[in-house]
Symmetry: C2
Subunit: 239 residues, 2 copies
DNA sequence: GTCTATAGCGAGATAGAC
DNA sequence: GTCTATCTCGCTATAGAC
């Protein structure tokens, strides 16, 4: 079940180290590296300040590349934003889906307990966030921001996540066949909201709780969240 | 328990209809009205696009006043933002606290059931959101945005809400005296996250659920949320 | 493939006329 | 109390030199 979601450098799809004889290989590898640097910087800054709170100059500066390169590689600002969401979104969704399938096979032909479905939704994130590089945490904070935005949530989150969430909605419904779709999706909504706030990692819970909790302690957040959400589902959806 | 949180025009503290003889009264009343118009416009636009996604010109335009007036009344952009948060924050927090006190008195000397504490946290919002004017909904969407922002959440939400949330944290702890502060606050975190996503009103749950749910249907959201969260608290905090 | 230079625009803030 | 006019700054995007 250790679905590989993390890797030191989030593997840029097909690196192709020798991309056509001569000295072109060297240059292309360097380009790929720079693309990743730009994405890393954009990811972090967008997560902190939102789409409009960041300039291409800041991104280029933090990435250590020239401003013009951001446009050269990614086109307009909005397409860079989309590229950031896409990069890790694909990896994450694949890992979540694998985890869900594994849980369902384990208990087939019965549906798995709701805890297992929730875990399949969360566990790949946990693994990703424990990596030493900050990329996944930045990505998650960006998702938190986008998910709670009336304008970005609709167009961007839906584009990258609807297909996956429907799979999980169906799986949850199989756990509680007598529940209505309305009950299932409002319960999912509760899970999604709590998860988003965890991603945001605002540091607020730290001083609210007088340091009993730390907002970067995702492990504790999930340890609480899984039984909490499972109990909520059972209460509302029966079973 | 019908703590008055809503009112057609969210009563600007002390309107003082005759503010010093002559014709000055007329002018002052007009100023107050314009201040409210600016706050209303800022509230809506900040909620949709965030602090950096909105210009003072857009705000003034939507409010139907001159750009220069925004600076004249509220100073720099950031202070306008803060004024927006403050206006309804005070009213809301007072109503929540009243509801909490009422619930505690009802069951004294025992602590009230956790449902009642959660209700005291949510109910004033429900009342506010059912008003015909869109102001409270915009305010809530803005809170959702700010609450999930690593940079604004820390400085702005803490400033306006920490005192109140601590009161609720204490009340929750009295419901589960054997639980640790860590458990209580991670559970509160789950509630806060789900509530934020509800506030955001992104319309996403609508097509995720194929219209089984509507994101503007706060009533249904709360009807699910209260038993869901209560069950979660009991599971994690015991009792 | 990379970077310099700049076009073209619109922002926040304010001085001073009315 | 209000608004016109403007100052100064920084943005995105791109054309063209290297």
């Amino acid at each position: 079940m250790t679905t590989a979601v993390a890797g030191k450098k989030t593997a840029g799809a097909g690196k192709s180290p020798s991309a056509k004889g001569k000295g072109g290989a060297r240059v292309t590898a360097r380009s790929q590296e720079r693309r990743e640097l730009i994405l890393d910087a954009a990811e972090e800054l967008f997560a902190l300040h939102g789409f409009d709170g960041v300039t291409l100059r800041q991104i280029a500066n933090q990435a250590g590349v020239d401003v013009a390169l951001t446009s050269y590689y990614f086109g307009p600002k909005l397409e860079l934003f989309d590229a950031v969401l896409q990069r890790r979104g694909e990896i994450l969704n694949r890992a979540r889906l694998d985890a869900l399938r594994a849980a369902e096979e384990e208990f087939a032909p019965e549906p798995p307990p709701i805890e297992k479905v929730i875990e399949a939704f969360l566990r790949p994130l946990e693994i990703a966030q424990e990596t030493e590089d900050r990329g996944w945490r930045n990505y998650c904070a960006l998702i938190a921001y986008v998910n709670n935005s009336p304008v970005w949530g609709e167009k961007m989150i839906s584009k990258h996540f609807d297909k996956l969430v429907r799979e999980f909605g169906d799986a949850m419904h199989r756990c509680f066949p007598k529940a209505s779709a309305k009950q299932i999706y409002w319960c999912y909504h509760n899970l999604s909201g709590a998860l988003s706030l965890t991603f945001a990692d605002t540091g607020r819970i730290d001083h609210l709780s007088r340091n009993a909790c730390q907002s970067h302690d995702f492990q504790s957040a999930y340890d609480c969240m899984i039984p909490f959400m499972a109990a909520g589902f059972r209460e509302v959806c029966g079973g």
